[in-house]
């Protein structure tokens, strides 16, 4: 059972890398969208620093969600998905493998780009470790939750926007705790309880999302 999942993971990574800069795209969107804010809000340093954590988290959320509608789309359209779901491999495993690849190509580069963005948006330095830890726990959750949505909207019209509608409300708690962790750290309070809640959400998503997404995938092929 591990062999096929590894194959899926590696294939998705290879496809992403070969398309030259899919990971780069997420990061670029992340950086660009976040840097829209100084334009939108005005470059006043105090104001920026105050909203930095929020802006970084909101744009991280949007950029993880941006690509995720394609998570199963290409496989659905070219017939790969039928091929995979007629294999003796649990569908939930397939979902996990694809999510892992997706996270490696979107969540991880995004985390690596965060320190730069933090400087750019004048996030207080005390907040950065908490920000990175929170992103490390939160982005996989977002990918998993997004996978449910991506599987649900397969074959729907205007999948992208519908997906956002389905997933953003579920992603809000991640955002809230992610920001709370950073704010706590900036204020000199322990970020640990917030990070624990983020960890709890990750575990819950790990438990539920693959099963739900697998069920959605099966019904998408009917």
């Amino acid at each position: 059972m591990i062999g096929p999942l590894r194959a899926i993971l590696l294939r998705d990574l290879r496809l992403a890398l070969r398309q030259g800069g899919d990971a780069a795209t997420v990061v670029l969107f992340f950086v660009l969208a976040a840097s829209l804010f100084p334009f939108g809000v005005g470059p006043e340093p105090n104001l920026l620093a105050r909203i930095a954590a929020g802006v970084i988290w909101v744009t991280a959320l949007l950029s993880v969600m941006l690509g995720i509608d394609r998570l199963f789309l290409a496989d659905h359209e070219d017939g790969s998905l039928e091929g995979l779901l007629t294999q003796p491999v649990p569908a939930a495993g397939i979902v996990v493998a694809k999510c892992a690849a997706q996270w490696l190509m979107s969540g991880l580069p995004l985390i690596l780009a965060t320190p730069i963005l933090a400087v750019f948006l004048q996030l207080p330095a005390e907040g950065l470790p908490a920000m990175l830890a929170a992103l490390a726990l939160g982005t996989p959750t977002l990918v998993l939750v997004g996978a449910i949505g991506a599987a649900l909207v397969l074959g729907a019209r205007r999948g992208g926007v519908l997906l956002a509608l389905l997933v953003l409300p579920l992603a809000v708690p991640v955002l809230v705790f992610g920001v709370a962790a950073v704010d706590a750290a900036v204020a000199g309070l322990p970020a640990r309880p917030h990070l624990l809640v983020l960890g709890a959400m990750l575990l819950a998503a790990l438990a539920l999302a693959p099963i739900a997404a697998a069920a959605a995938l099966r019904q998408a092929l009917e």
């Binding site: 000199g188 575990l203 438990a207």
Partner: protein, 158 residues
Amino acid sequence: MTRKRRRLLVLAVALGLLGASTALVLSAFQDSLVFFYSPSDVVAKGPPGDRSFRLGGLVEPASVARSADGRQVTFRVTDGANAIAVAYRGILPDLFREGQGVVTEGRMLADGRFEAREVLAKHDETYMPREVADALKKSGHWKEGEPAPVGGRPAARP
């Protein structure tokens, strides 16, 4: 048979993850998530820079003073151990009164006072007619500043 076992395995893994998740949440609540700072927090750690933050506690009895036009209010927020003076200009919520819980949002001034931009009133979950409340107080079943009893039972709110 293998299928049943596999299903059980998936179920077990999912339940295990959910269990671990609950454990994490519970341990997080033991650390108590703070959404506002108490006066003691502020005294102990100092104000969090010049950022605005939320300060919460009880309105200290007999600390409320209003300006002539009634728009400027000063009062003290206390958590029993420490108290901080708060200045606020604006309309107070109906439930704002001495002894009542409040959450205020604003920033510390240089003189150690807290300038509030917004004052939110917290209230508890007891509902009763005014006469009943008066009667309870008169009969000594209920003292000011204590959780209110209803029907003779003290409400179990710490």
